[in-house]
């Protein structure tokens, strides 16, 4: 069937109607329309972030390897809405695995509010967000969105002195040169010197350690593993491959690498 439209001359009211439609469209483009963009988002995911998700409060802890199995996308610069660019973790706490994921997301940007949105939900630094990636639910706190916040952290090296009271059989584990590495294979903690003193009974010993550790300096605070503040008298969790030591910090100073 051939359709045809009866034509006639243009009237002012007709032109006004079309101009109104086009005008609202232009206004919407400049005032409301969001710009599509790709941003890098750092997400802090820990085991406890996944506990209770969709269980209505029933405890359902996931195994530690769940987080460690999230792999970097072999081709992260694809056109997909989401890709994992980097997986990073500190080996600082065996009881609560924490992974930092750098995600590359297709987002839209609202000029007026300065907020990025992913799949319609605002992508706010500090908010809990869920992402589905290759059939895996990733849920965590947004640590950073590229371009939104300036990262004030600086990387520093500290010489830390500390002591730890251990059972006699544990002393043999503390050896010079023992290291802890992060997932990039960079050494984040290394035992430089070990002294073993008698403890308060015959069953235990006091181990005095000198450690070289890599930290993030944030204002006046040194953070080990991105999260644990180094302070005199406070415990520092060291998660070696075969044992864990809670070292009480007795002194620390910044050194040049």
């Amino acid at each position: 069937m051939k359709l045809s439209f009866p034509n006639k001359g243009l009237r002012l009211g007709d032109i006004f109607g079309l101009c109104l439609f086009l005008g609202i469209m232009v206004m919407a483009y400049f005032l409301v329309m969001r710009k599509a963009d790709r941003v890098y988002v750092t997400l802090r995911v820990s085991q406890s972030d996944l506990i209770n998700a969709n269980t209505g409060g029933i405890s359902a802890a996931l195994p530690a390897w769940y987080l460690e199995n999230i792999k970097v996308d072999p081709n992260p610069l694809t056109n997909s809405e989401i890709s994992v660019v980097k997986v990073f973790q500190y080996q600082n706490n065996s009881n609560e695995k924490t992974v930092y994921l750098t995600l590359r997301l297709l987002v839209t940007y609202d000029k007026k509010s300065g907020i990025y949105t992913y799949n319609g939900l605002p992508l706010l630094v500090g908010s809990y967000q869920s992402f589905t990636y290759n059939g895996v639910l990733i849920r965590g706190i947004v640590q950073n969105v590229s371009g939104v916040m300036e990262d004030k952290r600086e990387e520093k090296t500290l010489m830390v002195e500390g002591l730890v009271k251990v059972e006699n059989y544990m002393t043999k584990n503390f050896v010079n040169g023992l290291t802890i590495s992060d997932s990039d294979d960079r050494v984040v903690a290394k035992i430089e010197n070990v002294e073993i003193d008698p403890g308060d009974s015959k069953d235990n010993k006091i181990v005095k350690l000198k450690l070289r550790i890599r930290v993030d300096k944030f204002d006046d605070v040194y953070l080990y593993g991105g999260e644990t503040a180094i302070k005199m008298g406070q415990e520092l969790d060291l998660d070696f491959w075969n044992f864990e030591a809670k070292v009480t910090v007795t002194d620390f100073k910044e050194v040049l690498e």
């Binding site: 034509n7 243009l10 007709d14 032109i15 998700a53 969709n54 589905t132």
Partner: protein, 465 residues
């Protein structure tokens, strides 16, 4: 059809501008631009998406909703056209060039009551409520523009309109059905900008393990897809009957596409909704159905295989789905969940009797106020359209809808005195709609059959003068 392959939402906006400007260029009339441009733009729900999370994932008891539950709103080209339509309509009204229409006045009251209901609960921001109201109002105003146009247009112009609307609905049915069939073959969505879903969701316990995947087309759910395809088809049929087509002119090969799509969508309620239309066809075309001739027909080759294939598919799919229904009565089954949701809706209705909880607000309000716990495991709207309207729009909203239906049926009865085929097709489609709404959470009364029905009344009003 070209906009199916647009790369992004922005391109869709650009395409919409070209489309509307193109119609204006052809017709040199804003009125005709509205009359001819609104329906094609309303086929796709594409626009800038806004998501409002109303239930967090950790508040739910089942892992079926990993992102919790959200309400959605889209800034679409249709909404922008709607605003322009409303503004120009107000100007036209002020200039006194508008004829009043009872049906449309009742619908305007319905838009107003929905706005009051939405604002009462404060679930969504005010600008979303205004946007939703504008969408509702735009449909009514388009009706008004078109009714007004049909009442004052020449015979030739009216004929153009009906042929155009018939063709547009036909193209919409073909596109919607083709996408369903391609998705079924593909086993997934296609990643097109016009698709609402990016993945195929979990669709109920009785769908798991089905040998034929349930897809969604350009909609959100297979049942919704089947509902729209069926009622678009009925609307197209209404137009063909109105234009006086005979059975041979109606039964075209392309109708196999919606038929196959409806089978593949596996919606039991839509299968049931087809029964009144089949009865209508058998009754009014009984003289054309000659059993003796059918027995003597010798179908061979490709046609035979096609008919056998469709019959086999229909028997297998429908048989499987209805068998599932009969074995699905236990705890947390489809029936059990529906019954529990009715209890939730009844409790909500008692609390918000007059104005309801607001259009689309059933899930967040029921989740907040439900004491039965069902909303924590199944955060969905009550699976009964009538009860959903009562819960969301309150008694005031229901009374307005009943009044609208009564006035519509009265007019329809009177205007179709000489065309019983047309009369009973629309009344049969209302029965079909009632069947679907009894079992599904669909509260949209103004489906394509109604839209065409009201326009036919406007057309008949002109003819009867």
């Amino acid at each position: 059809m070209g906009c199916l392959f647009l790369p992004s939402v922005k391109w869709f906006f650009g395409w919409s501008i070209l489309f509307i400007t193109g119609i204006f260029w052809l017709t040199r009339s804003w009125e005709k631009t509205i009359v001819y441009g609104y329906w094609p733009l309303s086929v796709y729900y594409v626009g800038q998406l806004y998501v409002f999370q109303v239930i967090r994932p950790e508040e739910l008891y089942l892992p079926l909703y990993p992102e919790g539950r959200s309400l959605y709103f889209k800034l679409t080209p249709l909404l922008i056209l709607g605003i322009a339509m409303i503004v120009t309509w107000v100007i036209k009204m002020l200039m006194g060039r508008v004829k009043t229409d009872w049906l449309i006045l009742i619908l305007l009251i319905s838009v107003l009551t929905r706005l009051v209901s939405g604002f009462e609960m404060k679930i969504l921001p005010w600008w979303v409520e205004i946007g939703m109201m504008t969408n509702n109002l735009a449909l009514v105003v388009w009706w008004w523009w078109t009714s007004n146009y049909l009442k004052s247009a020449k015979k030739k112009d009216r004929e153009y309109f009906w042929k155009y609307l018939g063709e547009i609905i036909k193209v919409s049915i073909i596109i919607g059905s083709l996408l369903v069939l391609i998705q079924t073959i593909n086993g997934s969505v296609l990643g097109l900008v016009v698709e609402q879903m990016t993945t195929l969701a979990y669709l109920g316990a009785d769908s798991v393990g089905s040998w034929l995947i349930r897809v969604v087309g350009i909609w959100n759910h297979p049942n919704e897809a089947a509902y729209y395809i069926l009622f678009w088809s009925i609307a197209w049929l209404l137009i063909r009957i109105k234009l006086g087509d005979n059975l041979k002119e109606i039964l075209k090969k392309w109708l196999l596409l919606p038929l196959l799509a409806l089978i593949c969508l596996q919606s039991r309620t839509v299968y049931l909704a087809m029964v009144p239309i089949i009865f209508w066809g058998v009754y009014f075309y009984r003289d054309k159905i000659n059993i003796k001739k059918l027995k003597e027909m010798r179908i061979k080759g490709g046609k035979l295989w096609l008919i056998m294939g469709i019959l086999f598919l229909a028997v297998m799919v429908m048989g499987d789905r209805f068998l599932n229904l009969l074995t699905n009565f236990g705890e947390n089954s489809g029936w059990d969940t529906r019954e529990k949701l009715v209890v939730v809706a009844t409790n909500l209705t008692k609390k918000h009797l007059w104005w309801g909880v607001g259009d689309g607000n059933f899930i967040p309000v029921a989740f907040r106020e439900d004491l039965t716990g069902i909303m924590k495991t199944f955060p969905e709207a009550v699976h009964n359209g009538g009860l959903l309207i009562l819960t969301e729009e309150g008694l005031v909203g229901v009374v307005v809808w009943i009044f609208f239906m009564m006035v519509f049926i009265k007019y329809w009865w009177s205007y179709t005195k000489k065309n019983l085929k047309l009369r009973w097709l629309l009344l049969g489609s209302l029965w079909s709609q009632f069947i679907v709404m009894t079992f599904q959470p669909f509260s949209n009364i103004l489906m394509a059959n109604f839209i065409v029905g009201v326009l036919l009344l406007a057309n008949e009003a002109k003819l009867s003068k």
